[in-house]
């Protein structure tokens, strides 16, 4: 494991993401906003954005285990944290947060799950790292950093107190 971004750098990246989001939302005149992080790394980042953006609605947490498309291949993940959306999704402008955007399959699962709770007014995607290798037609609205990795290389966010990006 090699650390490629230390926690200070990451906190700076998140602060910049918060700024970008503010602008993004303002340009589009979006109010009535809720923020949802995808387990587990996405939640860590969403927590920080939630504070920085001073969002009124409590933080939403999404566990997409029940929506994965590789379930029959790899099965259930034992003792997963449940999804928790402590607000009404209906009509909300949602900021969906994940740590790494890779194939896009996680985002597909997360959108499906969100829509099972209700119909949001919009969904904005914010990711810390965009690997730029999507297999599905998703593009992040707000990106911390882009990164191109060679095949077989993986990048991972570790936390939750001190966030670092590592490769392995």
């Amino acid at each position: 494991m090699t650390v490629i971004k230390n926690s200070e750098t990451i906190e700076e990246m998140i602060a910049k993401m918060a700024m970008d989001l503010k602008i993004f939302l303002k340009e589009r005149e979006r109010k009535d906003i809720a923020i949802i992080g995808i387990h587990t790394g996405g939640v860590w980042i969403a927590e920080r954005l939630h504070n920085l953006l001073k969002i009124k609605e409590p933080l939403g947490e999404l566990n997409i285990a029940f929506y994965r498309d590789d379930f029959s291949r790899i099965g259930m993940h034992p003792s997963v944290e449940p999804s928790n959306l402590p607000f009404d999704v209906e009509g909300k402008h949602i900021i969906l947060v994940d740590d790494i955007l890779y194939t896009g399959r996680t985002i597909r699962a997360a959108l499906n799950e969100i829509f099972d709770y209700g119909r949001p007014a919009s969904v904005t995607l914010a990711v810390l790292v965009d690997r730029g290798e999507q297999e599905l037609p998703f593009k992040a609205d707000v990106v911390g950093t882009t990164m191109s990795l060679s095949a077989g290389e993986h990048v991972k966010l570790t936390g939750p107190k001190k966030l670092t990006l590592v490769t392995k």
Partner: protein
């Protein structure tokens, strides 16, 4: 003393120790039983969403194979399967048509050729679910929805789930099971589950005619006196007394049973003040339980029903997701 982990070859788990079939609570580790409860905890909220469904088992076909009629149990399994987005086939087979093993085999083969992925089985004979699990092709999963007097593991797990939701733990708890222990698959599954989950004391309370021989070997204390048995317990599980057993060689009458073993407020006062009253349903009011207790503040009988769906979703998804 017969302890858990006794089944010589546990066909319930795969090589990685993941749940493959769910036939009995016996012989499964505390870790695995806890995993079932934890997974059910995740599913418990699905029923409160706008869309009461998750797409986990989309494209899978689950056959409810009921050799013994039971609308209640079948309905909760059906609902659980549908909330997991599976397709459900309900097949009621009169046991008379399958008196011979040959036709039971034929039934299974026919369903397999229809590409069913899971069988939920209810059968009047003990060991039927094990038998079916040993007969099906390797990819097919079997869940026991009650076999004879042997096991009804999902009912036991939903009772465990209900108790854990209220008490948060099993250690230190005293639990009493009251009624027809002899014929009860629920009681047997509960005894194995609660012992594995680490309760402090398990009691069974019934007349000697309704307690099978060597009951203590299962790790329970036997009481014939209801009040003595209820003293200090944290949960009472009442069992249903079947009509055909109310009078005959096991009991003289339903009235006398209620006199001796019917749960009333007065008798419940011997238990812990925070006691929970459970019943797998359907209730015989005035036979095993007084209405005042069944509808009273200590009763969690209705909660049990809704948790039943989450438990069944949990075991279905765990079994279906355990690739070799």
């Amino acid at each position: 003393m017969i302890t858990a982990e006794k089944l010589p070859e546990n066909i319930q788990v795969n090589k990685k120790g993941r749940l493959k079939h769910f036939l009995t609570t016996e012989g499964l580790s505390r870790q695995l039983l806890t995993e079932i409860l934890d997974t059910a905890e995740n599913f418990a909220g699905v029923g409160e969403r706008a869309v009461k469904k998750v797409p986990l088992l989309r494209g899978k076909t689950i056959a409810n194979l009921f050799f013994e009629p039971s609308t209640r149990t079948r309905t909760t399994f059906e609902l659980a399967a549908k909330r997991l987005s599976a397709d459900v086939l309900n097949i009621n087979i009169e046991s008379s048509a399958t008196k011979k093993g040959e036709s039971l085999q034929d039934t299974l083969q026919t369903l397999e050729s229809m590409h069913c992925d899971m069988f939920v089985v209810r059968h009047a004979n003990s060991g039927a679910a094990h038998f079916i699990a040993s007969m099906v092709s390797p990819g097919i999963r079997v869940i026991n929805a009650g076999d004879g007097r042997h096991a009804h593991p999902t009912q036991a797990m939903l009772d465990a789930f209900t108790i854990r939701r209220h008490r948060g733990r099993f250690s230190g708890l005293k639990i009493a099971i009251v009624g027809d222990i002899m014929h009860s698959r629920v009681a047997r599954s509960e005894i194995h589950a609660f012992n594995t989950l680490g309760v402090k004391e398990l009691r069974v309370i019934a007349p000697k005619t309704l307690i099978p021989a060597y009951m203590q070997a299962l790790g329970v204390k036997v009481f014939h006196d209801l009040e003595a048995g209820l003293r200090g317990v944290d949960a009472v599980i009442m069992l249903r007394l079947q009509n055909e057993r109310m009078q005959g060689t096991l009991l003289p009458s339903a009235d006398e049973f209620f006199k001796m073993y019917g749960l009333t407020e007065e008798r419940l006062a011997h238990a812990d003040p925070e006691v929970m009253v459970l019943h797998p349903g359907p209730i015989n009011r005035g036979v095993e339980i007084d209405s005042e207790v069944a509808d009273g503040p200590r009763s969690v009988i209705l909660e049990q029903v809704s948790y039943g769906i989450a438990i069944r979703m949990a075991v279905m998804s765990m079994c279906m997701g355990s690739a070799e």
